[in-house]
Amino acid sequence: MNLYGVVLWLLTAIINSIAIPIIAWLGNLLWFIRPVTDFAIALLKNDAFLNFVVVFAEAFIILIYIALFIIILLWFERKMWGRFQDRRGPMHVGYAGLLQIFADMMKIFGKEDIIPKKADKLLFTLCPIIVTATAFLALVALPMSDGFVIARLDGGLLFVFAAFSLAPLGVFIGGWGANNKYTLQGALRGAAQMISYEVPLLFSVLGVVMLAGSFNIMDIVHRQTIWYALLQPIGLFVFFTAATAEIERPPFDIPEAESELVAGWQTEYAGMKYGICWVAEWIRMYVGAALVVLLFFGGWNGPWLPQEIWFQIKLWIILIFMIWVRQSFPRPRIDQLLNLGWKRLLPLSIVNIVLTIGIVASGWLG
């Protein structure tokens, strides 16, 4: 049971009972556009074209969903910060501050766009584009339910990771291109962090992949009769930590560490460029949390409720946990962070792989 079926039904209903009759009526009314309408009706009855329309509609829906998601997440996160800090958070813009993020957006749209005189203009402009584009790219292979997925890739997991790990490249060229010492430091830290956390991130997933026997996220979710969080606690821990570092969220927001590097690699970005970077961070947060849900918490599997609702429930629990973590820990130093990555998480993930090989080979799980 999922909402995707409903959406699909709605779409076919719209095409069959509204679009086709209207086009046919138009063709009858105006004889000179008759060939065009005939062609359109033929297209709409063609399965291949319909598939294309469906994928396009899906992508559109997911885009809208992500936009809404970020808006609600930002509001929610701010409200939660407020509660953690014994205050109220946004209150006065819209009901309970719900429109706060719109106000921020409007303001950022209207800001002057500064490119520093001595910056490398191309790289400086490219950075927000790369960071945001890769974040959106990861969404392509990220399913929400049996139906809601734009591309059903066999190597979906690898695709997500590939897209996910491109962003620090953007960070690096942006930080270098801004011609500022703080951005350069931030960019170097970003690069170091990327290299050292990519490895444990991928290794920790290998256990899941071995259990499921597939790189396809849909398959992984389908084969989770028991949550992999229970079978792979080490993997979950390593993955969660490494993912937090990968998406540069506090406490691992070392590339943009506010108290020492001003705003890290984002220091020189003004106006819309800063806004885009900002949005990208939250999309990446979505991707990270969604991966945790999909790989370790059974994805959209659950009784009674539609799949999408289950997915959202689990996703928000993970997000709340991430916000909680953000508020609880100070920021480690870069060398300590790298030590943690190479000397703790990497061995742990390797141990996890060995254990999983043992379990799989012994055939306990059938």
Partner: protein
């Protein structure tokens, strides 16, 4: 990566006030540090030479904004030593209470700064401010201002403590002491905080003494030195309190010492509130020449005003001489050196700021540190640029 100089400041999120710490880095390692100060140099010492003795009290408040009360008290203590005035015991007790409350407020500010500079620990940051507000409310009851109180007077204090003050203070102290446990849970049990602070910015005892470091930073190195004990001023000899010291002289010890000092201060305030004697809160300042007090004829209430506003004449002329008085501020030994030439204005006021000396020891603390350590190190000495620049 090649070596390069980074300017941390004058505008930088980690600075309290304005200054420019130029650090030479090789990648992430700090090779050299060259602090540039003076960005908020107001010339208080020169201004003091152009104000009369009473007018300088507000300026003394503004010397160090995290602990204005201690600076104002230090100033009046110096002038009193210059003029050899005996202050009534009740006034001394009130001063001591205010002094220690100020120390607590200042150390809570340190908690805030530590949370911010170790890395965006927002909740304790806001909590520290929340608790500091309790103390500011107390000051508001006592003096009428949140800070920059203009409360101590030469020869006493401005007015007596209000009736509700004692009960409210005790309540606030209870709250703060219970919250201190919360802070300790939040910080001391956080593995990352320990990682960030233990063994960082170690200052050896000998270096600290050689560079003139004082206060909690010195005590964290293991030197049991506190002016409240070793040269008791006001009425500190009446109270029973401990001097917390550290062992290693690292960042964590500075944190522990300061948290312990908040507890000790609370202890002192409680004792002082219990034992506070009665009597006047201000004495008549002797041998002063009242030059030009404008009294409007028939203006009612002027006499009352004179009683309330401690009995200080408008113009004070201390005898020629000099005085150097030191107190244990929340940041260390702060001192004032006032030379009088017998006129109504000080001939010279020299302010010894504790952070000024601690800052010059920075290069010993920065040795082997990383860029990310700079904000916690700065906060570890409880930096306050307003005091340094004067």
């Amino acid at each position: 990566m090649a070596e390069m100089w980074i300017n941390m400041g004058p505008q930088h999120p980690a600075t309290h006030g304005l200054w420019d710490l130029r650090i030479k880095v090789d990648g992430d390692m700090i090779l050299d540090a060259d602090p540039q100060i003076g960005y908020i140099h107001r010339g208080i010492e020169k201004l003091g030479e152009n104000r009369n003795y009473t007018q300088f009290i507000p300026l003394a408040d503004r010397t160090g904004y995290a602990s204005p009360m201690t600076w104002a008290i230090l100033y009046v203590l110096t002038v009193e030593e210059l003029m050899d005035i005996k202050v009534p015991p009740r006034a001394t007790y009130i001063r001591t209470i205010a002094f220690e409350l100020q120390r607590m407020a200042s150390h809570l500010l340190f908690v805030y700064g530590m949370a911010e500079n170790v890395g965006a620990m927002w909740p304790p940051l806001v909590y520290a401010y929340r608790e500091r507000e309790l103390l500011l409310d107390l000051f508001q009851i006592l003096t009428g201002a949140r800070f920059h109180f203009n409360y101590p007077r030469i020869g006493g204090v401005k007015w007596d403590i209000p009736q509700t003050f004692e009960a409210q203070t005790k309540k606030a102290l209870d709250v703060i002491e219970s919250k201190l446990k919360e802070y300790e849970r939040m910080f001391d049990e956080s593995e990352i905080f320990l990682m960030r602070t233990k063994g960082v910015a170690v200052l050896r005892k000998e270096d600290a003494i050689r560079m003139g470091v004082t206060g909690p930073t010195l005590r964290a190195c293991g030197v049991k030195e506190d002016l409240r004990k070793s040269e008791p001023y006001m009425c500190y000899s009446d109270f029973d309190f401990g001097i917390p010291t550290g062992k290693n002289g690292d960042l964590y010890d500075r944190w522990v010492v300061r948290i312990a000092e908040i507890r000790e201060s609370a202890k002192i305030v409680r004792q002082a509130l219990d034992r506070i004697p009665g009597g006047a809160v201000a004495t008549k300042v002797p041998a002063a020449v009242v030059k030009s007090v404008t009294v409007l004829d028939g203006e009612t209430g002027y006499e009352d005003l004179c009683v309330i506003m401690a009995k200080v004449p408008k113009v004070i002329k201390p005898p020629p001489g000099e005085a150097y008085v030191r107190v244990e501020d929340s940041r260390g030994e702060s001192a004032m050196y006032i030379i009088s030439d017998g006129t109504e204005r000080p001939y010279r006021i020299k302010i010894r700021s504790p952070i000024f000396c601690t800052l010059s020891a920075l290069k010993y603390m920065m040795r082997g540190a990383r860029v990310a350590d700079v904000p916690p190190i700065m906060e570890g000495i409880d930096i306050l640029l307003s005091e340094v620049d004067r």
